[in-house]
């Protein structure tokens, strides 16, 4: 190098690059925000259809929803399946803390009698090939909760086998199923606490 360039020159060049790339990011974010929101909505409708069988309702659960306050000040949107004027099922999102790398989002479908219509994982950051067996596309593990409820099995059996419960963890991963089962339990407790309000017909 023939001469030492002044520091302000480097600063200016770096600042210029930051501006250009920052702008590029902002533009991309602006262009993709709406489609991404749309995709997330479609995913939600698809997972809703998986936890509420189409045969038990004649309404559109996505448009018939009520918002209930959760325990920690958050709000839970409950999608209701109606047959005529009677509520036949409820679906709502549960965030299960304690996943291997961050919280796991579940969609729970539950019948008015408290039995699970189905459970699906909406989003997670678990290890691919190990913890991602909670996805229904990768394994049928998550389907085993269908038809069960609080009391069947008894509350203390709602845990992975390693913790004295009745559900199998899968090979190499205990933390992930433990978090999912904890989330399902929390979701059923939420139902027990809010059932009367969910049943209210407008």
């Amino acid at each position: 190098m023939s001469e030492i360039r002044p520091a302000w020159l480097h600063a200016a060049i770096l600042g210029g690059f930051c501006t250009v790339f920052g702008t590029a990011l902002a533009l991309t974010d602006g262009a993709t925000r709406e489609p991404i929101r749309q995709r997330a909505l479609e995913d939600k409708m698809a997972s809703l259809a998986q936890v509420i069988p189409g045969t038990i309702h004649d309404n559109n659960p996505v448009s018939d929803s009520i918002t209930l306050p959760g325990r920690d000040g958050t709000e839970t949107v409950v999608y209701r399946a109606m047959m005529g004027n009677r509520a036949t099922g409820f679906a709502y999102e549960v965030t299960a803390p304690g996943g291997y790398s961050g919280p796991i989002k579940l969609m729970l479908g539950i019948a008015p009698d408290g039995k699970l219509l189905g459970v699906r994982v909406i989003s997670h950051k678990e290890t691919p090939g190990l913890g991602d067996k909670i996805e229904v596309a990768k394994s049928d593990w998550i389907t085993r909760f269908t038809g069960l409820g609080m009391g069947d099995p008894p509350a203390e059996k709602w845990a992975v086998r390693k913790d004295g419960g009745q559900f199998d963890q899968f090979s190499g991963a205990t933390i992930t199923p433990r978090a999912v089962i904890g989330g399902i339990r929390a979701g059923m407790e939420f139902f027990a606490a809010n059932a009367p309000r969910m049943m209210e017909t407008r």
């Binding site: 190098m1 360039r5 020159l9 480097h10 060049i13 770096l14 690059f17 930051c18 790339f21 590029a24 990011l25 991309t28 974010d29 262009a31 993709t32 489609p35 991404i36 995709r39 479609e42 950051k125 290890t127 691919p128 090939g129 190990l130 991602d132 596309a137 990768k138 090979s171 190499g172």
Partner: protein, 224 residues
């Protein structure tokens, strides 16, 4: 340095293979290779980012001063990765659902940065694009190899769930090599990655040594 594309391709894919020779990008190579399919997904996503980042660095190489090149390159890779992540989420959503897990991890990979510093910063755009692509493909090759070995020994399958990544047509490559109850768990866990990667490095050296013995070429160890 004039561009010798044959040499660039050979170096990128085999001789200076990112994982097996340069020992770079080991974090994703260890973490994402529980199955061959995951290795393939991670490898392909990295290849896209490497090719585009190398091209960008080469195009801008005359404007980036030596002193600030590292932060600038990091900025470029991070921007590229974030843009790819958002665009895929918005318009290639099915693919994103499978590959999305891998994309943010590319930022933590030092292989793109190393190639920018060692190659793209000094070369014209086209050779840089070829270099980025080939090193990326070499990376993919190594990851599929590590993932394949771990998957066969660890759970008895090869390319499990490949149809989710590549489409239903690829259902045929999902193989079960061992009986269904087969599984040596340690190979799926992190130690398995180190074992397999280490053995593959040895295997590569032995192949190179055997080849150089025949052609009486100089040595095995090379530098980028």
């Amino acid at each position: 340095m004039s561009a010798d594309y044959g040499q660039i391709v050979k170096d990128g894919l085999w001789k200076n293979n990112g994982v097996l020779c340069m020992m770079l990008g080991l974090c994703p190579a260890m973490a994402m290779t529980g199955t061959a399919t995951n290795g393939l997904g991670m490898g392909l996503a990295t290849t896209v980012v490497m090719a585009s980042s190398s091209l960008m660095v080469a195009l801008l190489r005359n404007y980036v001063t030596h002193e600030i090149r590292i932060p600038t390159y990091i900025l470029m890779v991070a921007t590229n990765v974030t843009v790819v992540d958002m665009v895929m989420n918005a318009w290639l959503h099915e693919l994103y659902k499978v590959l999305g897990l891998f994309i943010p991890l590319i930022v933590a990979n030092c292989l793109p940065l190393a190639r920018m510093e060692a190659f793209a910063a000094k070369e014209r755009p086209l050779p840089s694009l070829v270099d980025g692509t080939c090193v990326g493909l070499g990376f993919t090759f190594a990851l599929v190899l590590i993932g394949g070995v771990r998957e066969i020994i660890g759970q008895g399958t090869l390319f499990a769930d490949a149809a989710l990544l590549l489409g239903p047509a690829f259902k045929v490559i999902e193989l079960r090599i061992m009986p269904a109850d087969w599984g040596i768990l340690v190979m799926i866990l992190p130690p398995g990655a180190f074992l397999v990667a280490g053995l593959l490095v040895v295997a590569k050296r032995m192949i190179d040594l055997a080849a150089s013995g025949k052609t009486a070429a100089a040595g095995v160890a090379t530098s980028a």
